[in-house]
């Protein structure tokens, strides 16, 4: 798979850009004019309570839902205006990890991970090594012939990460990757996300209601040479400085906070403090 990422400078191009995006359903508006951007190779942590529109934001970024108004640009393409036929091709550039994994339950782990490769018409002899490589990345190569129903919740999410990364997309969207998992398994998932970010240099938009996940992404990086997660030293090492992480907080359909990890950590705002508690 791809080489080491060189991480974004502040001049990095925008990978995902939302401009005054609104969406609602029968029971009212969910997002009311949201604007933000995620730069290339940057990680944005989207925080918010349940029902504030985090998943909707990810689905709109992937073109799975169309906003009622506003524009969404992803990798320079206006996703909000693309026809479904064009979106199907475009979505192959985006990895999406769904909250519960959303693995195809009638297929084996291998077939789940290989799904996208089959769809892309990748040669059969190339598929197995790539599937094994992706599963090795999430340390689940031994489950290759198992069905999703035979795996634990955490393992299913790891397979989902393998499935999302198998065709090496430049952007990965994570929908509450640690929701409902025990602390140890959550840590495993976060480590994988760090590894994916720091080894392959993907741009990430991660929706969660757990602030500690965001801080883990902001304060740690994966050292490819040492093969382990290490704390950012703050001494200007390239990885620590470049793996830039920002926070967005949704509240009542609008962006309540947008800023750096230090800003949210030191905030006196009572609403933000609820996430810190």
């Amino acid at each position: 798979m791809g080489g080491h990422g060189s991480f974004p400078s502040w001049e990095a191009r925008s990978a995902i850009a939302f401009e005054d995006v609104r969406i609602g359903f029968d029971d009212g508006q969910i997002l009311r004019g949201v604007s933000f951007c995620v730069r290339e190779r940057e990680t944005v942590v989207l925080l918010g309570e349940t029902g504030t529109g985090k998943t909707l934001t990810l689905k709109m970024a992937a073109g799975l839902l169309r906003p009622d108004s506003g524009s969404i640009d992803v990798l320079g393409q206006k996703v909000s205006e693309m026809a479904e036929k064009d979106l199907l091709t475009f979505r192959r550039k985006i990895g999406f990890m769904f909250q519960e994994g959303a693995l195809f339950d009638s297929m084996t782990v291998a077939d789940n991970v290989a799904y996208r490769l089959h769809e892309d018409g990748v040669a059969q002899e190339e598929i197995e090594p790539r599937v094994r490589e992706a599963l090795r990345f999430v340390e689940l190569e031994h489950t290759i012939d198992q069905l999703p129903s035979e795996l634990s919740g955490g393992m299913r999410r790891r397979v989902s990460i393998a499935r999302a990364l198998v065709n090496r997309p430049p952007i990965v969207l994570y929908d509450s990757p640690t929701a409902g998992l025990d602390p140890v398994t959550s840590q495993t998932i976060i480590t994988l996300i760090l590894r994916l970010r720091d080894v392959y240099g993907v741009t990430a938009l991660l929706a969660t209601h757990r602030l500690q996940d965001g801080f883990a992404l902001a304060n740690f990086h994966f050292d490819a040479d040492a093969e382990r997660v290490v704390a950012n030293s703050g001494n200007g090492s390239s990885a620590a400085n470049a793996a830039h992480t920002r926070f967005l907080v949704y509240r009542e359909g609008e962006i309540y906070f947008e800023g750096e990890p230090e800003e949210i950590a030191n905030s006196k705002d009572p609403y933000l403090k609820r996430f810190l508690a």
């Binding site: 009212g28 689905k59 992937a62 906003p67 009622d68 999406f96 769904f98 959303a102 195809f104 996208r116």
Partner: protein, 280 residues
């Protein structure tokens, strides 16, 4: 905004006050029209997908196995007994006029033109339309359909077209099997109940049939297959409300496809009779 993968319409009414009866009726009418529109588009797309790549042959074969081979036991069993019952019912009337030899004619025509396609359609709807609705509905609520779309696959192409095609290929064959076994059941009943000769029954049953009769049965079975498959897929892909919604969609799929098959039967019969007079 499309809030399910195959819906093209939706309403965005922010309800701040209790709606009046007129508004409720208006809303219901709009939803009804939107549902018909969505169903029509999905049905059209399920066939239009056949004209362009990619095609999912393995999925189609799997569905043919499920619909065709899976439905065969209930079709054969039902067909045999329906044929027998037909003979008992009609034979009892023909005995009054001393025309029991006509039993083979009547049973054959009824099975080929009407009962074969209709009962095969209804039985397959009960078994497969519900299965399609529950399978696709479960995939929808567990975000597997979204995952499919996120990986660049058109669900109508991958999930709907193979099911519709497989059903349209299998139901006419199942109908033919049901008619054959029905005649077999009728033959057995006529031999034991009406003391007719088996050879006489078969000869009359075959001789009475003409090409328009076979076409009528074939066209009906194709149409019923299309109805039960598209309704099952549509209800599955428009599930609302989690697992409870899947159960509701499954029931609705069977009810709607069965009613549509019966309604369509009337119009198809009229059309077939008209065509048989004009063309054949």
């Amino acid at each position: 905004m499309a809030d399910t993968p195959l819906q093209v319409t939706g309403s965005h009414t922010k309800q701040e006050e209790a709606p009046s009866i007129v508004e409720v009726l208006e809303d219901a009418a709009k939803r009804g029209v939107a549902a018909v529109q969505d169903y029509s588009l999905l049905s059209f797309r399920s066939l239009a997908n056949l004209a362009t790549s990619p095609h999912y042959f393995q999925d189609t074969l799997d569905q043919m196995d499920d619909v065709g081979v899976g439905s065969l036991p209930i079709i054969l069993l039902s067909g045999f007994f329906i044929g027998g019952v037909m003979v008992l019912q009609t034979g009892a009337q023909f005995v009054r006029f001393g025309q029991t030899s006509l039993t083979g004619d009547v049973v054959s025509l009824a099975l080929v033109r009407e009962l074969g396609p209709a009962i095969t359609g209804l039985l397959t709807a009960g078994r497969c339309s519900s299965g399609m609705a529950s399978e696709l509905g479960s995939m929808l609520v567990t975000e597997q359909v979204d995952a499919m779309r996120a990986m660049g696959t058109d669900p109508s192409r991958k999930l709907v077209t193979p099911r519709v095609l497989a059903t349209m290929l299998m139901v006419p064959l199942l109908t033919a099997m049901m008619v054959f076994v029905g005649l077999l059941g009728g033959c057995v009943a006529s031999v034991f109940s009406l003391q007719l000769s088996a050879v006489e029954f078969w000869r009359r049953a075959v001789d009475i049939l003409e090409f328009p009769d076979l076409m009528q049965g074939f066209i009906k079975s194709l149409a019923f297959a299309f109805i039960l498959a598209t309704v099952g897929c549509y209800k599955g892909l428009t599930v609302r409300g989690g697992t409870q919604g899947v159960g509701r969609a499954t029931t609705q799929a069977v009810v709607i496809s069965s009613v549509l098959i019966i309604v369509a039967d009337l119009f198809l019969t009229k059309l077939s009779l008209y065509l048989s007079n004009k063309i054949f």
